[in-house]
Structures are given as C-alpha cells and as structure tokens.
C-alpha cells in the first residue's frame, strides 16, 4: 500500500516536471512538438499493409525508451524508494507516459503494436543497464590543430571527432563526383553546435576580458579562426574542382558561418553559469530547416544580429556586477 502511494506521488511529480519542461521550452517549442505529435498520430492511424510498415514506429518508441532507461540518473534513488519493485515503477512510468502514443494504435489496424510495445518496455525495465561515462582519455586526433585553451573544441572533438572526421572525408570523397557534396560541411557545422551547449563557470568566463563586448568579439574571432582552419582544406577541394560553381558555394558558406556564430552567440545569449543549455536544440533545429528550405535561408543571418546584441546584454550582468 505504502509503495503504491509512493508510486502515485512520484508519477504526479513526474507530470509536474514534464509540465514545467514545456513551460520552460516556451510556446514556440510546444507548438512545434504538437505538430510533430499530430504527424506521428496520423502516421499511426494510417492503414498499413505490411507488418514492417506498422511496426516501424513501435521500434522507434522502443529505442527511445531503451535510451531513456539507459541514461536516466535516478535509478539509485528509485532503488531506495522502491527497494523491492523499482522495476515495476519504471514499467508503470513508461507505460503511462507513452499513452499519447499507444492510444492511437487502438484506432489503427496494428493494435497488436500496443502489446508488443508494452512487452518490450517490460523487458527493457528488467535489464539493469546504465550507460557508463567513458572515463578513458580518448586521444583527440586533431589536437595539435586545436588551440590549447579552446576548451569547447577540445571537449567537443573528444566526444564527436569520429563522426566529424567521417563526414569530412565523405564530403571530400563526394567532391570527385558532384559539387553538391558541399552540403556535408553544413551538416558538420551542425555537429559543432553541440560544442556550445554547456556554459562555463562565471570564474572562467571573466578570467581574461573586462567587458561583455570584448569577450564576445574575442570569442567570435578565436572560434571563427578555428573553424576557418578546419574547413579550409574542404573549401579548397571544392573550389579547385568546381570553380564555376562559386555562386552555389558562397551563399552556402555565408550561411554556414552565420550558423556557426549563431551557435556561439546562443550560448552566451542564454548564459547561466555552470549549466547545460536546452534552448540550443530549438535554435539548431531552426537553422537546420533554414539551410534546406530556400525561403528560410536568411534565418540564421537574422538570428546572428539579434543574438549578438542579446548576448552582450546578457553577459553585462556578469561582467559589470
């Protein structure tokens, strides 16, 4: 009885957390999420002929639950609250919070999907898997190329260097066949956005510069130089092979640079000492859409100017306090 009451209390707290996350994300993010949700529901209720077609979303949902279950950090706490049946709690939580996605299956011709999903959820909760942080000092392949005090790039490269290098080489290889491979550089630039999703402490922020404007200008200079050094061989590769396509490259390059600066400025526009940024995901999404939809092309250039002044204003409090 006691455990059941605790379960209800905890589920209520979880709902409250979810609600607060939505409020923090803002109406714009909620609106986008709602559209995505509606699209998912339409996809579920669409009559599917093949079994694979009906089960693809179930696979996606299961993978999501698996990832959440692997990375969640409250398992020790749950084991203390529910020493005997914390796995049961996990299952109930996943089943309840998946309801908006499982209920539409009642109106589809793949109702068995609910049973499959719940079964997979049950199995996931039975596996006590937790992702361990990689404590190995992974060597950064291009470390000599990154300046020693550029901590964003050192940390970011350690985390994503394999993907970045793979895409870089892929982009270069594509250049032998088609000039459109240049778009790979845009994708790599988006990976760089993750380099700027953690805010340093105020002590580190104010170490060298006296004003927020000086800080932002120095930061942009240093990081743009780093970015330019990184993309230079890639640019040469395309410009040498397709010199007549500069009309295609130059606007794209302008957008890539603008995107890169938007990622940096977004960090300082929302800077709160020693925190992880959440707004980055929304901004990255907007810039990404902007890169592929022609009429949204200037979105990052507009954001650049807005974020520049906003970041200076936001940092003023930390520099002139």
């Amino acid at each position: 009885m006691f455990q059941k009451q605790n379960m209800i209390i905890l589920l209520r707290i979880r709902s409250l957390q979810f609600y607060r996350e939505l409020v923090n994300a803002g109406w714009w993010a909620v609106f986008v999420a709602l559209i995505i949700y509606i699209m998912v529901v339409i996809k579920i209720v669409q009559p599917s002929v093949a079994l694979l077609q009906g089960s693809e979303l179930i696979i996606l949902f299961s993978l999501t639950i698996f990832s959440i279950n692997s990375i969640r950090k409250d398992k020790r706490l749950l084991k203390q609250i529910f020493p005997d049946n914390y796995k049961k709690y996990l299952f109930v939580e996943y089943a309840i919070f998946s309801l908006p996605f499982t209920i539409p299956y009642f109106f589809s011709n793949f109702q068995i999907g609910i049973v499959i999903f719940l079964l997979v959820c049950f199995l996931i909760t039975q596996l006590d898997i937790s992702t361990k942080i990689n404590l190995r000092n992974q060597t950064i392949i291009l470390k000599k190329f990154v300046s020693t005090n550029n901590f964003e790039w050192i940390a970011g490269m350690r985390k994503s260097q394999h993907l970045i290098i793979l895409l870089y080489v892929f982009g270069v290889v594509i250049s032998y066949w088609h000039f459109a491979g240049f778009i790979t550089l845009g994708v790599i630039t988006f990976i760089f956005s993750a380099f700027y999703d953690t805010c340093e402490s105020q002590f580190i922020l104010t170490l060298n510069e006296k004003s927020s404007r000086d800080f932002i200008i120095t930061k942009l200079k240093v990081h743009l130089w780093q970015y330019t050094k990184f993309i230079l061989p890639f640019l040469l590769c395309y410009f040498v092979q397709y010199p007549d396509k500069y009309i295609f490259y130059l606007p794209l390059l302008l957008v890539y640079y603008a995107n890169f600066m938007v990622f940096i400025l977004n960090k300082y526009k929302s800077y709160i000492p020693s925190t992880q940024l959440h707004s980055n995901i929304v901004i990255v999404g907007l810039c990404f859409i902007g890169m592929f939809i022609p009429y949204l092309f200037p979105i990052s250039i507009i954001l650049l100017f807005i974020f520049y002044s906003k970041s200076i204003t936001n940092l003023k409090d930390y520099f002139h306090a």
């Binding site: 942080i133 990689n134 404590l135 190995r136 000092n137 020693t148 005090n149 901590f151 964003e152 050192i154 940390a155 970011g156 350690r158 985390k159 953690t198 340093e200 402490s201 105020q202 002590f203 580190i204 104010t206 170490l207 060298n208 006296k210 000492p273 020693s274 930390y318 002139h320 306090a321």
Partner: protein, 226 residues
C-alpha cells in the same frame, strides 16, 4: 591591504549584507564564519565581482579592487565535461613561470591526464585549487576549501595556505571546520545579522565555539525529537 567599507548587498527586497566593514592586511589569513544563509558566499562573490553591491567600496592597496587581483576557489567547482585535468588547467593563464604543473601533480597525487568525470570529490577540489595557484593573484578567496578532502590532502592544503601567506598573499577563507581555522588564521570574523558582528584574534579563538553556537538550537528540543 584589502578594505571593505560600508558594504551593502540586497537581492531584490532581501538585504543580505548591511554596512559591512572589513580590513585584511596583505600577508594575512582571515577566516569567515557564519551560519547557513548568513551571507558568507555573497560576501565572497562581492569580492570577486560576481555580485553587484548597492553601497560601499572595496579597495585593494587603496585602488578600486579589480577582478585580476583575485583568485577564487568556489565551493562547488564547475568542470567542463570531456576534458582531462591538464586540459582544464590550460584554460587558466599562467603569469608565474615558477608554476611547475608536474611537481604539483605529484604532490597532489592527481591523475591530470585522465578525464575529470572520473575524479573523486577531493580530486576535483585539488584540481580547482591548482587552477587558483596557477593564476598567482595577490588576493585568494577560498570558499570551503577543505570540503571533500581526505586527511592527508587536508594537511597539505593547510600547509599550502600557510606558504601562500608567507609569499604575501591576502587570503580570505570560509570553513565549517573550526579546528583548521584556529590553526591557520590571523583573525576570524563572525558574520551575523548582515555584518561582521565580531572579530576574533588568536587569543580569543577558544571562545568561538561557545559564542557562535550558543542559542543555535535547544538540546532539550532535539532530545524530544529523537
């Protein structure tokens, strides 16, 4: 000489420090004690410039105190993820050519080429302290420097603080471990009712326990609770 005069700080309508005065001579270690929420960290944040003060002045050697004069060891140190200890330290400028990272690394028994995520609380504290030492600034603020340290490291940090004093550094330190403050401080200040309500010289250190903790809680009430 570090001098705080008539310092007042408020967060909105909540006044935390009111007309506070404090003087610390160069080459001295001063302790700051107070109950939770008494404003110790606010005072330290003011000194580094993290918090804006509404009234008063802070001067160092009769000049307005600047950030470049102060090194600050915070209670909860922040470490960027996916960095090794050595990479973290490279963020901090090194004005002192004497600073030998390899010797410090051995002295602190710190695996600086390993990822910070794998460090214990004490190791993280030592790493943050190394950053402060590397900065080599004339004023050093240490907010709870002994938290999370083992016995040996506690002793080592005590010795380092005393050596910094001999080098002429001005040190302000907060700690809930009164025994250590007794051993290293030239003066201990009790922050209470938004200001320094009393300053204890070494001959008076024994009075601190009794005076500060007096009336903090009722033993009878506590006994009834348990």
């Amino acid at each position: 000489m570090l001098k705080l005069e008539n310092l007042s700080v408020s967060y909105g309508t909540n006044q935390v420090l009111k007309s506070l005065d404090l003087t610390i001579n160069s080459g001295e270690i001063h302790g700051l004690i107070g109950l939770n929420g008494s404003g110790k960290t606010t005072l330290l944040n003011c000194l580094y410039g993290f918090v804006r003060y509404q009234q008063g002045t802070i001067t160092f050697n009769e000049q307005q105190l600047e950030r470049k004069d102060v090194a600050f060891l915070e209670t909860n140190n922040f470490f960027y993820s996916n960095l090794t200890g050595r990479e973290f330290l490279s963020i901090f400028p090194n004005p002192n050519e004497k600073f030998d990272l390899e010797t410090w690394k051995n002295l602190f028994d710190l695996p600086i080429d390993e990822m910070i995520e794998g460090y214990s609380t004490g190791m993280k504290k030592k790493l943050a302290l190394l950053a402060v030492l590397k900065l080599d600034r004339p004023i050093i603020i240490l907010d709870e420097p002994f938290n999370g340290l083992d016995l040996e490291s506690n002793y080592l940090v005590e010795k380092i603080i005393l050596m910094l004093k001999n080098e002429g550094k001005t040190i302000l330190i907060t700690s809930h471990i009164l025994r250590i403050l007794h051993q290293i401080c030239d003066e201990i200040h009790w922050l209470n009712h938004k200001k320094i309500s009393k300053t204890y010289l070494p001959v008076m250190f024994n009075q601190i326990d009794e005076e500060v903790l007096k009336g903090a809680f009722s033993e009878t009430e506590l006994a009834n609770l348990l």
